[in-house]
Subunit: 421 residues, 2 copies
Amino acid sequence: MQATPIAIADPPLRNSSGLHAPYALRTIVELVSEDGISGFAETHGGGRILDDIERSRPLVVGCDAYDLGRLRLAVNAEHGHSSQTMDTAGSMRTAQRVFGALEVAALDLIGKATGRPVCDLLGGRVRDEVFFSAYLFYKHAGGGGEGDDAREDRWGEALTPEDLASQAQRMVAEYGFPSVKLKGGVFPPETEIETVMALRDALGPEMPIRIDPNAAWTVETSIRVAQSLAGVLEYFEDPTPHMDGMSAVRRELCETGHDIPLATNMVVTSFADVAEAVQKDAVQVILGDHHYWGGLRAITHLGQLCETFDIGLSMHSNSHLGLSLLAMAHVATATPHLSYACDTHYPWQDPADEILIGGPVPIRDGSVRVGDEPGLGAEIDRDALARGYERYRQRGYRERDDVTEMRKHVDPNWEKKLPRW
Amino acid sequence: MQATPIAIADPPLRNSSGLHAPYALRTIVELVSEDGISGFAETHGGGRILDDIERSRPLVVGCDAYDLGRLRLAVNAEHGHSSQTMDTAGSMRTAQRVFGALEVAALDLIGKATGRPVCDLLGGRVRDEVFFSAYLFYKHAGGGGEGDDAREDRWGEALTPEDLASQAQRMVAEYGFPSVKLKGGVFPPETEIETVMALRDALGPEMPIRIDPNAAWTVETSIRVAQSLAGVLEYFEDPTPHMDGMSAVRRELCETGHDIPLATNMVVTSFADVAEAVQKDAVQVILGDHHYWGGLRAITHLGQLCETFDIGLSMHSNSHLGLSLLAMAHVATATPHLSYACDTHYPWQDPADEILIGGPVPIRDGSVRVGDEPGLGAEIDRDALARGYERYRQRGYRERDDVTEMRKHVDPNWEKKLPRW
């Protein structure tokens, strides 16, 4: 097992927690079988997950790549199954994060050993193309990186409704995305309503639009925004914090005849959260993410669970490279109930930082095509991986901290406050 | 694809629907890959399932054994996903039954092609032994079969509490079962309460005991029996018909301080039934069965679902041979949440009817050991299979009909009535 931390340039994107740093952090996990076949996974980055993965080394080395049931139990025991950690995507269980990475690498390895794509190991595909959504951000000028590694900015500053409409048009034109999502929670709600309406004007009424203010709004504000955007939103993601807040928003919207689905990757981040969400009707769409739900098979379980309870299923993304995108695509294609285009930050990453041989995974007509190549369908460019590691080593970022970045670059007195409005 | 209907001797076992016929019917499905590897599955028997499987032939032949996601959609479309059929195990969806058989055969084939046990294709085992429960029946004398094929009766008549206690002691001594289940709904509830108490006296207070009257009792009777058996039952299976009946029993038991879990394989027989059951708190243990839940991966999904909603998971059985037992064992070992010993009718079958090379699958110390042999870990004895087919052909049984058997052998005026008491 080899876990390699890397840093990749990330533009100054805004959200309710502040500002993206010049680098996003990822970890590349490699498992090598005794016959010399390597399987890879990409997961969250920084020092803590790296330590967590390293702690699992004695459980992994010598393990059979198929023996994932017992490995999961061992990882759970090692990390304390119920221990929780917090980061920007909400409450995540360390064990599920570690096991998720190990499982993806093991499945890539098995796929390569047997000559089968990973989706075939998950029950087989139900579609060849997996659709993704454009992920629109308010942003400052700059393309990420810093110092002599600063990148050119393809997208420019985008801090007004007009800027976002233009960003959306370019991104949809370039990638063919069938849906767009606005990362909100940055400006006062009226500005973000205006932005959504500008997106609608720019993209036409057929384009599904989502907004995700990451819990920046009170229950009352959430209800007001939803009513203002009635008939415009495909779904309304995490407008307000906490299960009870989401439930209150839902109840009021239903009572006033606004049956807009609430989506989440903040109040439901593991199977342990689902029963309460169902009981309180707090969410109508769950954004799964194999990186913290415990791997690809866990997402197929989540698909059946969502189907059973008539909950929609979409997919969450952090800043990521192509290996994560491929893993998302493989599990998405083997999950019949996946009912929405998935999130992806991929267009924000600099193709120069991709670690796959052949460069970035193509997104064409809004979708990633899952082919018949073994495993995840990609090989690692070890020189590119080494460059990513060098950036990690030299640039010094060790954990994501959007608040500090916000203070450093935008407003020294900025405070994170959820809800803010 | 080859689907072979077989008949196997079945003793005159009683239940709330009547009497087992002299033969139980099963179907053996074989899928042969173009490189000549065969995968096998065992499923329900008789003419209808055989026709249903044959209707799927054009969907299966030429299909890649890994391509199960698309096969499932195609089978669903062929059989009408929402069409329901009824048999003794409740409402079953034809498509799920057909796909379940095809999936098991495909996984056996994949396992044999890759040299891996089926449990490894499902996420890997979490245990090596899968525990089963003794399945006790009121029965008449006779070991099944008829005419010149009539079998010797190892077990004898068992129609009194004392007979059942003796049956239980022999079966537990012979197989080491760690739990026993009484098939009830045959005699008045007082007699069955008496039988449970006789089992307890014979086996000791540590032995978990379940009773399953298959919906023979009213809500009131169910409550009365549960209260009489407070502290004795491990779980209380399908005492009364319908979701609302089960829910009413549960509510009253909780209100009177009897927190005995209600189990079911009658009111929850597919994912479509789960949401209502959760909402009404109608069942606390679901008995899964890959034969009608849609295969082995579906059971792993059910395991996660049950864990998520804090519902126990056990496993249902019909009369079956070793291939079904092995499939149950493989999925059970890859389903961490499986929280109870599984049902099995296997001891009631005549070893002479087994179709596996080497004879019956051993149950030792109450468990089936899942080994590392490829696929389900068994090879088919084609001569034994041919003998099973001959019995099917000659003996003329084409569907299970416990009512007709009851009238023929016990009481010509017998009527099925659920609830009866």
